[in-house]
Amino acid sequence: MKDMIERLAFCIEKGKVDKDAPYPPELKDQDGASELTAQLLKSGVSANVILKEALMAGMHAIGEKFGRGRAFIPELLIAAKAMNAAMAHLQPHFESGEVKYRGTFIIGTVSGDLHDIGKNIVRMVLKGNGWNVIDLGVDVQAEEFISTLEEIPDAFIGLSALLTTTMMSMESTVQALKQKFPENKIFIGGAPVSPEFNKRIGADGYFREPQSLVRHLATIV
């Protein structure tokens, strides 16, 4: 069994979605993430063990490589696809409450700002680390964050801004959120943002890249 879990983790890391998937060439015609997950479940391995020891382990391995500049985004993306394929099998177990995400993370690019590549990477890395991510997209008004938080009151929030001028929307979004939800943690990022700015607007942490956010989250959850 341990062997099969390791194989699944390896398929996730390498982005082997299923048997038919042509990528990566060296795993051609072998079982992929989808098949292996189904088999593991069938043979009685708990969804929780699969999630932690295979899926998250695989994502962690590729995420780690990416963080050290040893893998590219497309590799991260294909791993995420394999993970999604596996997650489809776990879905009922999430619904039954048998397995749980680390928590929910609401993310979006602030109002007036249309840059989303950076935010999308953050989303991907969080997902790979076992977070349930709700992505509100770009040009997100404060009200949207608020109404989403009203539904999921224990969620964390991540704001992205790439323009010096939309840093001001970031500030007002943080203010609006903090007024209604003083306890929820808000993290910020994006090229023009800085630790000083974080302090000034009363957010709970600036992170230069998603890996350090994930590390920080691990220390507080």
Binding site: G69, F72, P74, L114, N120, V138, T164
Partner: protein, 457 residues
């Protein structure tokens, strides 16, 4: 009506050089861009602040002070000329009256400085392509498009002389193509979607330029190939992919000139050296002195064939030596001074030093070697349509890079090596027929992301 480029304006390697364009542009105040000298093009942006009717007076003051400081510094340092670019921020394109007022303030300062103190200047205005504010974006109608065009017109009337934009048609597909390093989709986004959208858009911009007696200056694939460059610089995607995405952008950006633009191409278009070889129009470039805006593997080589030399963008914040835009301008002026001291011989020496500085360290730089610029540009003009041109450009560039790698003239980080093969295969999958290409790719696209009809698809 469309201008056809099927030969090179600069076919000779030695004629492809900074400061000298086959068809220089003479501006209102008598600057001749591409006529023998390189001029600084200064860019700047606001510090963190809101943009609205309340802050507009303050914003105007900020821009005014940037311009007076810049003019002072240019005169102190004996600069023979100065180009200012106002890259609007989206709230300004969404409120064309803001754009008008800001443009007018800058124009007023530049005029005063010209008449009172003799500084020759030109003024570029770059409205935003706000169409992708709605997703999927509507490209050919609607209020957003109307406002873009109104902004062009108002800015032209307020004193803007050179009109540019970084249009975004095709970006809906290209963003994902980039992150997945999917060259087929990138080629589709640029050569089919981007080129078609630019044809639509630039016909209109050229008309406005004509009516307002201003200059249609050109478009850049900033949201495409520069995003690729930034991602490659962060080690997020392979550099070789970014290099090929760059050449794939050339035929797209060429469309502006086919529609009547005459340069100077905007600074952030690293496809400009190729466009200069093809069109003979002067081009702006950004390199090391734009490190304030982004790190780049093209710091020196970007200057090898430029006619304007830009800092891309810097916030108006205080450094020890003065406000950041003025600091940037001083650096640009000294870079230009160096280039402007050259005679024909030493110009080539300096150009070749710029080239050698960067060419062998990165594929994005390697394609900037003059012989490679010419080979790729030739491959482009030998083909009839944007798609076939893009296919030819990508193939030629890939061959050039592949050969350089094999011969050890260029090396790639080990991580990239496995990608060479992947990329080669996707190039081979590009059919010789455009319609076939469209049919082959459409089913693979996420149809929720774009509106096919907006691209005649």
């Amino acid at each position: 009506m469309k201008k056809v480029f099927n030969t090179l304006a600069h076919p000779g390697e030695k004629e492809l050089i900074f400061g000298r364009a086959r068809y220089p542009l003479k501006t209102r105040k008598g600057l001749v861009i591409g006529g023998g000298k390189v001029y600084p093009e200064l860019n700047f942006t606001l510090p963190p602040m809101n943009i609205n009717a309340q802050t507009l007076p303050e914003i105007k003051n900020i821009y005014r002070s940037v311009i007076t400081d810049a003019c002072d510094r240019a005169l102190e340092l004996n600069s023979p000329g100065l180009v200012i670019e106002l890259e609007l921020l989206i709230e300004m394109t969404l409120n064309p009256d803001f754009a008008y007022e800001i443009t007018a303030v800058i124009a007023e300062e530049l005029n005063a400085c010209f008449h009172k103190r003799g500084l020759k200047t030109a003024f570029r205005v770059t409205p935003n392509d706000t169409r992708d504010k709605n997703r999927p974006p509507v490209m050919r109608s609607g209020e957003l498009l109307d406002k873009i065009l109104i902004t062009f017109e108002k800015c032209a009337k307020a004193g803007g002389e050179l009109l540019s934009i970084e249009s975004t048609g095709g970006k809906e597909i290209h963003d994902d193509a980039l992150l997945n390093c999917d060259l087929e989709k990138a080629v589709f986004a640029l050569s089919i979607m981007g080129a078609r959208d630019m044809e639509f858009l630039w016909e209109k911009i050229c008309k406005i330029a004509k009516e307002t007696n201003t200059v249609a200056a050109g478009d850049t694939a900033c949201g495409f190939a520069n995003t690729a460059m930034v991602l490659a610089q962060k080690k997020f995607i392979p550099r070789i992919f970014a290099a090929l995405d760059r050449v794939a952008a050339i035929p797209r950006s060429l469309v502006a000139y086919e529609q009547g633009a005459v340069g100077p191409g905007k600074d952030c278009g690293y496809e400009n050296p190729f466009l200069k070889a093809i069109t003979g129009y002067p081009m702006s470039m950004e390199g090391k002195t734009a490190a304030c805006a982004h790190s780049s593997p093209l710091g020196n080589i970007a200057g090898a064939v430029c006619d304007l030399w830009s800092n891309e963008s810097v916030q108006n914040i205080k450094l020890l030596g003065g406000m950041a835009p003025t600091v940037s301008l001083e650096q640009l002026i000294y870079d230009c001074r160096l280039m402007n001291q050259t005679d024909n011989d030493s110009a080539l020496v300096l150009r070749d030093l710029m080239i050698r500085s960067d060419a062998y360290l990165d594929p994005q730089a390697y394609i900037f070697k003059p012989e490679n610029i010419i080979a790729i540009s030739k491959a482009i003009v030998n083909q009839p349509s944007p798609y076939l041109r893009t296919k030819a450009a990508v193939e030629t560039a890939f061959d050039i890079l592949h050969k350089a790698l094999k011969e050890g003239e260029l090396t790639l980080p080990p991580l990239e090596e496995s990608w060479i093969h992947v990329i080669e295969e996707s190039i081979q999958r590009l059919p010789s027929d455009e319609q076939q290409f469209i049919e082959q790719i459409m089913p693979k696209l996420d149809s929720s992301k774009f509106i096919a009809g907006e691209y005649d698809l």
